[in-house]
Symmetry: none
DNA sequence: GATTTTTTTCAGAGTATTTTCAGATTGGTA
DNA sequence: TACCAATCTGAAAATACTCTGAAAAAAATC
């Protein structure tokens, strides 16, 4: 079980991150300032740290640097509001492992976390299953029996979302914010179009799984009993 | 099984080295200061030592000199932050076998380790295979059936990376940092260009292996079923 | 110092993905 | 049943990413 420490002072964002990560069956712990973050991180019991740059008490750069000085090598993903190269360089110089500018699409964050933890040699979930479908998380492919198809980036993220919340209805809204991000101006029809793409691929694969529509709400995967 | 001792106080670098080496199926052990490094090295149970010059307690020069005085001939690869010839000369004078300045590309380190251990007469992995392709690690050549071609340094390192992680998608980003190094400003297109070179050579060799592209992610080798 | 090889750069062609749109379809409900 | 709103879907358009040949630049070799 992957343990993730989130150090983020914007409560709403912190909560959101916590939720996204918990949904992945990872364990998340949230703290709201740099000082506390550093204390928690020092325990060395985390597999990953998500660290905002702008923080009360101590900023993200300081925290990573301190950690590295103390020989704590837990991988750190830095979050920053600005898209300045200097920040990126500075972050990596301080010893961060990856870097992401806000706002971002949650699914992209997850992709990066997976990459980081794989790099670290941690055991990461490599495959999701639902009914007769298998989604290969490292190859971006979907298979059913012997057939297999490649999925594009968005097809993949959407399906991954559905498959990691089996039986749950995934609201169209959530899909939009999680795959397209909060800043995007994509509309409902974009999601609908992708559902159509996915259904086509399910059909091609000969899968028994279907994507059920819940009018005015969203979608969910359904396997025949 | 090759045993490698890493003496490096920058935790991140040490971890990275450990990982890179372990991925090669070598055995890595990491210590963080010169004194401990010397103690470990004295055991004589290592096939190779990677030794930073700037170290707490005892610097790298002292460590090698001590070792040689004690007739311990384990090959030493010195790492230094500066690119000063004087350091290089001094290092080799102390009895080091090779010398490398930080930062460096991980694949270059591996190349040097291979060279050192071959020089030493150790048994090293000499060949990688995938499908009908054989990559000769000491001759930098690639063969398929009876035909064979020479590969340039970068072609070689990239292909080695792909062949040592069969079936896995190797992110473009990883290829860049591992072959070009973290300090380089090479861009995605550089990788793309090399993929094109490699494909051309595969074709020339008449190999059935192809390089598959995973859009927005990276590449992987594919052998026909 | 000239030649060869390797590496980088660039631009246009080629492809896959993503968005957009409009007509067809569906489900709910008045 | 007839209507409306929501959804589906095929096709086209727009965009983003990748490939590749050629040439320039850099490095290695002779």
């Amino acid at each position: 079980m992957l343990r993730v420490l989130i150090v983020e002072d914007e409560v709403r964002l912190a909560e959101a991150l916590g939720q996204i990560i918990t949904e992945q069956k990872y364990q998340a712990e949230v703290v709201y300032d740099g000082e506390t973050g550093l204390d928690y991180a020092r325990s060395g019991q985390y597999d990953l740290i998500i660290l905002d740059v702008m923080l009360p008490k101590r900023n993200g750069f300081e925290v990573v640097r301190k950690l590295r000085e103390e020989k704590i090598a837990t991988p750190v993903l830095l979050l920053t509001a600005r898209d300045e190269v200097s920040d990126k360089v500075r972050g990596l110089d301080c010893g961060a492992d990856d870097y992401m500018t806000k706002p971002f699409a949650p699914e992209e964050l997850l992709a990066r976390l997976r990459a980081l933890s794989r790099r670290q040699g941690d055991v990461v979930l490599e495959e999701l299953t639902f009914g007769d479908l298998k989604l290969n998380l490292s190859a971006y492919s979907l298979s059913c029996g012997t057939r297999s198809v490649h999925l594009g980036y968005k097809e993949f993220e959407i399906l991954r979302l559905l498959m990691s919340n089996p039986q749950m209805v995934m609201p169209k809204e959530s899909i939009l914010t999680r795959v397209w991000g909060t800043e995007s101006d994509a509309e409902d029809n974009n999601v609908e179009a992708y559902m159509s793409f996915l259904r086509k691929k399910f059909h091609y694969l000969g899968s028994k799984v279907t994507i059920g529509t819940v009018r005015k709400v969203g979608y969910r995967l359904e396997a025949p009993l």
